[in-house]
Symmetry: C2
Subunit: 475 residues, 2 copies
């Protein structure tokens, strides 16, 4: 049953996206311009993301802290590159009650400044290092055009800020955190992201380099979905973050930051959802199974629902019985639009024949099985199958939308027909990046690490190519 409130994905992708956000009750617009209310269904996904990532961070030795959200102007100004990068988007608090504040305070758009200021005070010896701090919080960036989850003025994220005694260790941290992000996207979100370094032009303001995690949406548009930055000693010099090294000499600390945001929820939607609503990969779904009894007040039906629900919960499958007053058709549609991976329909009539129905959300396939076949193992296996199938489906589409360009004509043709990940060689000059950007705003996504040489020459200027780069149109 097609959900009437959802525009078809192939007719108007942008409208389809916001329709799904609303129909699945993930978020809504508010009276605060550019800011959303994250509703229970949306926040529950964020809680799943938090719990899985946070556990991983802690296993790796990270600890959580909480730094102030207001940043005095003088602190921000210490790092010029950062303030230049963020200046136009910074919102300033200037008044309290009915009077002026002495200092202007920026509402945090990122927290490098306050973390460095903290570390400056708290590092003495190499024995204090590394410090592996992370915080879960809200940040604010005054974006002009906003879209729920995708680009909201206020959003939620985690920001890791670590300091190390050596460059090697800090670079290793930068890399291993990107590995965590890639693991999370591949294994948990079923999104076949790619990763690599950003070009100089696209890296984070003030970083030595940035490694990025890039997803490809259903419509061939790219989404930056997590970054890990290596700062070397740049910030620690600007903020005077020093320690005494093993040779008893003062040395500036080596600094990294890495973050992933509520934007992940946008990625889940734009990779997996369909015209019937949200489709959640089982490993991230707050509710994995819904059991719907059909035929009112049938003892056998109710008992089976309760017993099986309990069995699933006892085995760490998050399931629930929908025994609300609505009719079964309405319940099916609701489970579907909310993206619940498996729906079990247990009906009085079917039980006479000894069967029950299991419906997969991803394929919308209805499977009739014998009552005795409905076991915890059957469901856990099916959840794993769905997880894998969703990844493979996304990967297959991504492969179809991955192209090679050998000259600007190729590039234009691809971007005008069907955008995607476009592999092309690049000389390394920013002028070529700018020229390519003229084609529908296409940007470098990331440099392919150890990428095979697909040409000798730059796709743009024809000079000697230095890098194998993935290009694309971005959100």
């Amino acid at each position: 049953m097609k959900n009437e409130s959802i525009t078809s994905r192939d007719t108007d992708f942008a409208k389809w996206y916001t329709d799904v956000v609303r129909a699945a009750k993930l978020a809504d617009y508010t009276s605060v311009k550019g800011c959303i209310a994250i509703e229970p269904n949306g926040y529950a996904i964020w809680e799943r993301i938090q719990s899985i990532l946070d556990k991983k961070f802690k296993e790796m030795g990270h600890v959580n802290v909480q730094m102030p959200m207001l940043i005095p102007e003088h602190l921000f100004n210490q790092e010029k590159e950062l303030i230049e990068g963020f200046a136009p988007e910074l919102v300033w608090a200037t008044e309290v009650g009915d009077r002026k504040l002495e200092d202007r305070y920026a509402i945090r758009s990122t927290s490098e400044t306050v973390f460095c200021d903290y570390y400056k005070k708290h590092l003495t010896s190499y024995r204090d290092l590394p410090k592996l701090y992370n915080q879960w919080c809200n940040v604010f960036r005054y974006e002009k055009e906003t879209r729920p989850f995708l680009r909201s003025r206020e959003f939620l994220w985690q920001e890791g800020h670590t300091v190390h005694a050596t460059a090697e260790e800090a670079e290793w941290e930068t890399k291993r955190m990107m590995d965590v992000y890639m693991w999370f996207n591949h294994e948990i979100l079923a999104i076949p992201s790619i990763s690599g370094k950003k070009t100089e032009k696209e890296k984070f303001a003030g970083a030595e380099y940035t490694i990025t995690c890039e997803d490809l949406m259903y419509n061939g548009v790219c989404l930056q979905d997590g970054t890990s930055h290596y700062f070397g000693q740049k910030f620690s010099k600007a903020y005077d973050v020093k320690f005494t090294n093993k040779d008893n000499k003062d040395e500036y600390a080596y600094y990294t930051t890495w973050g992933k945001t509520t934007r992940m929820i946008a990625a889940i939607i734009m990779v997996h959802a369909d015209d019937y609503g949200l489709v959640l990969p089982p490993r991230i779904a707050p509710k994995q199974v819904v059991i719907i009894p059909i035929g009112k007040d049938n003892t056998e039906v109710n008992n089976l629902c309760c017993e099986f629900n309990k069995k699933l919960n006892d085995n760490n499958v998050v399931s629930y019985i929908d025994n609300s007053e609505k009719n079964p058709g309405f319940k099916f549609a609701e489970a579907e639009v909310n993206g619940i991976p498996i729906r079990i329909e247990i009906g009085a009539r079917d039980l006479v024949n000894g069967t029950v129905t299991v419906a997969r959300r991803d394929t919308r396939e209805k499977i009739n099985i014998k009552k005795d076949e409905l076991t915890v193992e059957y469901i856990t296996n099916l959840l794993e199958t769905i997880q894998k199938d969703m990844y493979n489906k996304a990967l297959e589409r991504q492969n179809k939308l991955t192209f090679e360009a050998h000259n600007l004509t190729d590039m234009e043709k691809i971007l005008n027909t069907q955008p995607g990940f476009i592999h092309a060689m690049w000389c390394g000059d920013e002028s070529c990046e700018l020229k390519i950007k003229e084609i529908k705003g296409c940007k470098s996504r990331c440099i392919v690490e150890d990428g095979k040489k697909i040409d000798d020459k730059c796709v743009c200027c024809g000079k000697e190519a230095k890098y194998h780069v993935v290009w694309g149109i971005q959100y």
Copy 2:
């Protein structure tokens, strides 16, 4: 071994408090005036608080959401009493980049306005009710005098915002959430809090009434540590939050809010900590047991440490081995200042005699037991004993610091000698509250529900008494 960095509690309580905060590495001051950095040890306590309370809220049917932190001025102005209560403490964002914003935005100090604005849009029928929403977030209040955790300009909290179809149900919600707070303080934090309604003067701006949870600190000063507000239809009228009731008529929704904050960490310190540092009740301690091996590289010692640590962790006791480079004396002191409930010392020499040492943080008692007596059951029992003993110790002190006053002379005498919870009858007139406040700023804490009549006359004016009230000096 007395921690040299901690002032004695009986010499200078205020200095002792901040010394403990710093020595236990719970939080530190920052370059952002009045705002603290919550450090790993402090944030870990907050994570324990969050996980226990959040689980309880969810079991009761609450769901989490996230609303914007910036509130447009016009929205705030809709509820006059609220803005009047908060106006002097509100910080306003007025600029973006280098230009003025069209609207002024208040940084949330509480979120009644945005929740009501949301509910206005989302309620239609009584079938939508109740909505039991909660959010975990940061809030900002421009306090003049600040103290880590106790009163910080920015702090973390949970704020529940629920709407109901009937007054009865909303009043029940107001009450049951205070019951949860009381359960949490008594059972988890080992704090024998009292609760009751606030007087009209002390209630939350705009509420019909406020129920409060009040703790008594070691020095006899009171601390408000959680409130639950019943708003009736006041806010829903101001914000036009309507629904169609069972009789198919428009009705304003009945509204409640309730919150508990990082101030709880201040309460834990000021009720339980001592001159040696923090003392954590086992149920809230992020780390419950530390195992310290003594005598380097002794295989028997190391094996026993590892085996027993594993056994504890397998049985849901959070323990760890401190096998850092420091000497044992330093490790003992560190475990002590950090308030870890149980320290197990396993030494080569003691093992020759077949004994190990178990040290309780609360009593600082060292118990020598036979190696075979060191079982998981022994430790879990001891943790429960410590939890109960800490509660009883706090209760005993609270009882000693609970007084009765029958006239203003009594009241003055108590407040000048040793403040505490002062029970006294009150006529209900604000003028008497104000007169009592002249004595060292003493305020009504709460009205004792079904409190026995300890006098016929008001403690202040001598007129007929209406309420049995607890009074005290507050933080």
